[in-house]
């Protein structure tokens, strides 16, 4: 019996060596990195930080993956709930072993691992979401979510009666701070007396905790809840108290039909499809992409019937100005929380300044812990 098993094992080993030998040969043959790739050979990998079932951030990325499959008919696969740690490297290599030629890594904390693996596999294309590093075969991409946030602020500012808007936020990082500031500028463009109260949860994903943070804000007199979180917990809190809410990531009307007014949402699909297409045609180039509302990568979800009267027109007006570049959201005069002018009249913040935001604009009630 033992002999049979050992022979079997040797056999398995030999076969597996042959198989792995084949795959190395294939890798070497594919070194010319910009050669066009046939549709059948195209395999696109996606790494998600949360579960697809979050109904938010990861859900939006996965919708885009399905869009790529549908539009281009290429094969895709994914791994969800990958923590932002050394495991990323393993997952990336796994995907490459399974034949991925393009990989989308959809969380900020993946950046350094992606960069490292990108160096080892020059023939594979990597696209990293929300970071700032690039390499010959690694792009970074993101959307100007603050534009849509500004518009959602208009809706919230017109709706509030207590002039207090609650904002449930995850972490004190520039992306979140930029969103809060844009939202507040939107609120105060239509309601100069309103304030936006920020509550930090220090988690991207905990429905119960996020709801609890929203409840604390409601107890302090807020009557509109906005969020930079990946679940609909805060929407639920507003729904229960009979007040109003602005969602995030995806259309959240189903989870809070009596409260939800609109949401700044992601629409990654077209960008993903275009990038994959470019790889197939052999025209792909590494870049730093920060798409705007013009490219439709970010949008404001359609306003519901609960949205205040007149908000639709106002949003449409400002959306037009953002799209034709006559308004850029972060243009002077902008004061900080202490009333000091940070951006002079007639000036605009640069992309660099926006990407390293570490202060709140006037009207925000909250503290950034450094």
């Amino acid at each position: 019996m033992k002999k049979v098993i050992s022979k079997l094992l040797v056999g398995v080993l030999a076969v597996s060596m042959m198989v792995s030998g084949c795959s190395t040969a294939k890798k070497l043959a594919n070194v010319d990195s910009n050669a066009p790739v046939a549709k059948e050979e195209m395999k696109v990998g996606f790494i998600y930080v949360g579960p697809i079932g979050d109904g938010g951030w990861t859900y939006a990325h996965n919708e885009a993956r399905l869009y790529v499959e549908e539009q281009l008919g290429v094969q895709t696969f994914y791994k969800e709930s990958v923590p932002e740690g050394p495991e990323v490297e393993k997952v990336l290599k796994d995907m490459i072993d399974q034949g991925a030629n393009v990989i989308f890594a959809t969380s900020f904390g993946y950046m350094d691992y992606v960069e490292k693996v990108a160096k080892q596999y020059p023939h594979i294309k990597f696209l990293h979401c929300s970071g700032y590093k690039t390499a010959d075969n690694m792009s970074n991409y993101f959307g100007r979510m603050y534009q849509a946030r500004y518009l959602s602020g208009i809706v919230a500012g017109m709706k509030t009666q207590s002039d207090t808007i609650g904002y449930v936020a995850a972490f004190e990082i520039p992306e979140v701070i930029r969103g809060i500031n844009a939202f507040t500028l939107g609120v105060r463009s239509v309601n100069p007396d309103a304030k936006v109260v920020v509550r930090w949860t220090h988690t991207w994903y905990d429905p119960a905790k996020e709801k609890e943070a929203a409840k604390a804000l409601l107890d302090e007199g807020a009557d509109v809840i906005a969020q930079h979180q990946d679940t609909a917990g805060p929407q639920q809190a507003a729904e229960e108290r009979g007040v109003w809410s602005v969602g995030y990531n995806t259309d959240m009307q189903a989870t809070a039909p009596q409260a939800y007014m609109t949401a700044p949402i992601w629409n990654w699909g077209p960008y993903y499809a275009q990038q994959v297409q470019a790889v197939m045609e052999g025209t792909w180039k590494s870049e730093s992409y920060w798409g705007s509302m013009n490219e439709e990568i970010v949008r404001l979800a359609p306003l519901t019937a609960i949205a205040p009267e007149g908000s639709k027109e106002k949003v449409a007006e400002m959306e037009g100005k953002i799209k034709d570049n006559s308004f850029t959201v972060f243009q002077g005069p902008i004061k900080d929380q202490n009333g000091e002018v940070k951006v002079e009249e007639g000036q605009q913040m640069t992309d660099g300044e926006m990407l390293s935001f570490d202060w709140f604009v006037e009207g925000v009630v909250g503290k950034i812990e450094k």
Binding site: G50, P51, I52, G53, D54, G55, Y59, V197, R199, W200, T201, H202, T203, Y205, D206, P207, A208, K209, K211, E212, A213, K215, A216, L217, D219, E220, T231, A232, G233, Q236, A254, T255, G366, K367, E369
Partner: protein
Amino acid sequence: MALISFFAAAVVAGTPLLFATLGEILTEKSGNLNLGVEGMMLMGAVVGFQVGIMTQNPYLALIGAMGAGGLGAIIYGFLTITLRANQVVTGLSLTIFGAGFANYMGQKLIGQVVPESMKIFFRPVSLPVLGDIPYIGAIFFRQDPFVYLGYITAIVLGIYLYHTQYGLHVRVVGENPGAADASGVSVSMYKYIHCVVGGALCGLGGAYLSLVYVPAWQENVTAGRGWIAVALVIFAAWNPYKALIGACFFGGLDIVGFRLQAFDLKISQYIINMLPYIVTICVLIIASVRKSKEYGGPKGLGIPYFREER
């Protein structure tokens, strides 16, 4: 007023912890260290939600949740009691299994909301007389029915464990299964029953999250609360009454950060987030320094029982 609404919120935040803690106390009292609380909670959460959506009947939803939690515990029981597998490893696997089970079952439930009729059933109700007590009434007795069920379960468990013969048997099984066996108590049966009932309670804790607390399906709705429950068992010294207090306390610690942010405190948020764990460590230290019997777990905890090795 702000303080009262905070305490009332703490009770709500503590309720899922309470059910899970009571379940784990019962399990551990019979000598089973089941670390799969998180898994059983998730199984209860998803099945309770699924049944609730299908039948629109809150009772069936609760029964479904208990069944699912119990099912997880049966798997655990079969492996550790009948096959005498390592309890720690089995419990950890159960956590992973439960999460996978819930994600699989929940695929089609994403974004769905608890039906209105059930939301009404789980609405807060003020109890007559008790609800009118100043302060206490507003904090403890104007809650949803699920919370009251938690109070009752804790009291019933306390009476069961400390004032009935069966309770005495359970404790003996947990402390010294050999002695229990010698006096004619069926060790395996006791272990099985308490394991499964404990699992059912954990399932209820999960269902509270998916049906009442966040009445919509979202993956991983427990977000680590099962592990806090395991710590709470130690904090409560395996005592159901103390678990009641401990759950409210830990529930309060969980949400206190949001309320404190309204004040300009000089304490870092991250320190406040660490509080529940720091408190547990302190309890462990105090217990081991005092070598107090009260703060030690059941002696037979974690050890599979072999009759032949007595």
